[in-house]
């Protein structure tokens, strides 16, 4: 049996002006990444990346997203990410956190990463209820599995 090799790229979206909630959904993210691939690599690049490309996950609070692409084209994708300065209509950049071969490992990485993020953020929230909500929202990633 032939196994289709994928690469999962975990990125953090860093907007130019810090905001709490980012209004970017999967479709907008996918569209802007593919548009930039076309800009920098032309039709050939878009063709190789588009096949198998998908945004698997996008959290608007932690601003973390997972993108999947085929193993053949992942270098095209990862080298495009630093050149992007606009996502949708927000000025933002990508910060690549991790490139993994299975989504399980990406999950493990993200859970660790979000734990650290929580440690930073929870201190800033005063009321207990809000804090509970916040933790739930951030960690809802685990429930999806």
């Amino acid at each position: 049996m032939v196994r289709i090799k994928n690469r999962y790229v975990v990125v953090r979206i860093v907007p130019e002006k810090p905001t709490n909630i980012l209004k970017i959904d999967d479709a907008v993210l996918a569209k802007s990444v593919l548009r930039n691939v076309k800009k920098y690599y032309g039709d050939y690049g878009l063709g190789t990346v588009e096949h198998g490309f998908r945004v698997k996950y996008c959290n608007e609070r932690t601003k973390i997203a997972i993108m999947r692409c085929l193993h053949r084209s992942h270098r095209t994708l990862t080298s495009t990410l630093p050149l992007i300065t606009m996502i949708g209509d927000v000025r933002a950049k990508f910060h690549t956190l991790y490139v993994g071969a299975t989504i399980i490992h990406c999950n493990k990485f993200i859970i660790n990463h979000q734990q650290r993020f929580l440690d930073e953020m929870v201190g800033q929230i005063a009321s207990a209820k809000e804090r509970k909500d916040f933790i739930k929202r951030v960690m809802e990633f685990d429930l999806e599995q």
Binding site: R75, L81, P82, H95, T96, V99
Partner: protein
């Protein structure tokens, strides 16, 4: 040798506005950089030739407050970039004392002759290129090979390349020229970022290697190992051929006085200075040491 930790970003232009500089440094920390260099530019060709000053190079700016603020998170180096057109700069460089205060010295040649000189006899550590005026100079194979053999490093700035499409083309041209001329050795990536938004994470920079024609390994080395080598080379240039040096760190504290003979000799060696010294087996090297660094043998 002094410890530095990955990742490195060896070009952050100095700005008068300390607030803006602080923002950039904060962003660099959050992205995972541990060593950065603040760059000052000195234009040798534009100086006043009629005035005779003892040291034409400016002393490094004081970044004491920033250094103290980010003491445990980040190491800040000082770097001087010398723009020049002819070889007369070499004479000035040998006589300069201010130059030794910088951690890194980079050369930015403006003409072909200067570029050849830069690769073959320049007494700095790094060769960089003008990004604003377009890349008209491309290094030839022989000069490049000599530069690599001498341990020089060649810099590619990605910050301006992200900003502007023309600069991007130029930088790609430049990087591929290294690839064609000599299989891309001794390359480092640095940001040249003037605002926090232009900084990218170390892994992003390593990934950029793909468009610059480097392999994955070379790309990672360009933000990590090569920069460390560059730092070591620069240290070697400043203090001579050594593999260990002793530097004073604080006031003198004699904790052990059981061996009075030794203590006496130590005091004599200290010569009344108020500073304690980290001890180490100093292996000498028949090269002169700057006066501030004292050598001492461990008893």
């Amino acid at each position: 040798m002094e410890k530095t930790y990955p990742f490195y970003d060896l070009c952050i232009p100095y700005q008068k506005d300390e607030k803006a500089l602080r923002e950039i440094i904060k962003e660099a920390i959050s992205l995972g950089y541990k060593t950065i260099a603040i760059e000052q530019v000195f234009d040798h060709s534009r100086r006043d030739a009629t005035k005779r000053v003892p040291d034409i190079f400016p002393p490094p700016v004081t970044l004491k407050s920033l250094e103290d603020e980010f003491k445990n998170q980040l190491k800040i180096l000082q770097r001087l970039t010398i723009l020049y057109v002819d070889v007369s700069v070499a004479h000035a460089m040998t006589n300069s004392l201010n130059l030794k205060k910088y951690d890194l010295v980079a050369g930015q040649p403006k003409t072909d002759a200067a570029l050849t000189h830069c690769c073959t006899t320049f007494a700095g550590d790094l060769v960089t290129f003008d990004t604003d005026g377009g890349v008209k100079l491309l290094v030839n194979r022989k000069a490049y090979q000599i530069g690599v053999k001498r341990g020089l490093f060649f810099e590619i700035k990605y910050g301006p390349a992200i900003r502007d499409s023309n600069v991007r083309k130029d930088m790609i041209k430049l990087a591929h020229n290294y690839c064609v001329r000599g299989k891309t050795k001794s390359i480092i990536f640095s940001s040249g970022a003037t605002n926090p938004f232009e900084l990218r994470g170390p892994y992003d920079v390593a990934n950029l290697a793909y468009i610059f024609g480097l392999s994955e390994d070379q790309g990672k080395n360009a933000v990590n190992k090569a920069c460390r080598q560059l730092f070591l080379r620069a240290q070697g240039r400043r203090i001579g051929k050594t593999f260990m040096f002793v530097r004073s760190t604080g006031p003198v504290v004699f904790s052990d006085s059981s061996d009075s003979d030794d203590a006496d000799s130590e005091k004599a060696a200290d010569d009344g200075s108020d500073e304690n010294e980290e001890m180490g087996n100093f292996v000498d090297t028949n090269s002169p040491e700057p006066p501030s660094k004292k050598k001492k043998k461990l008893v």
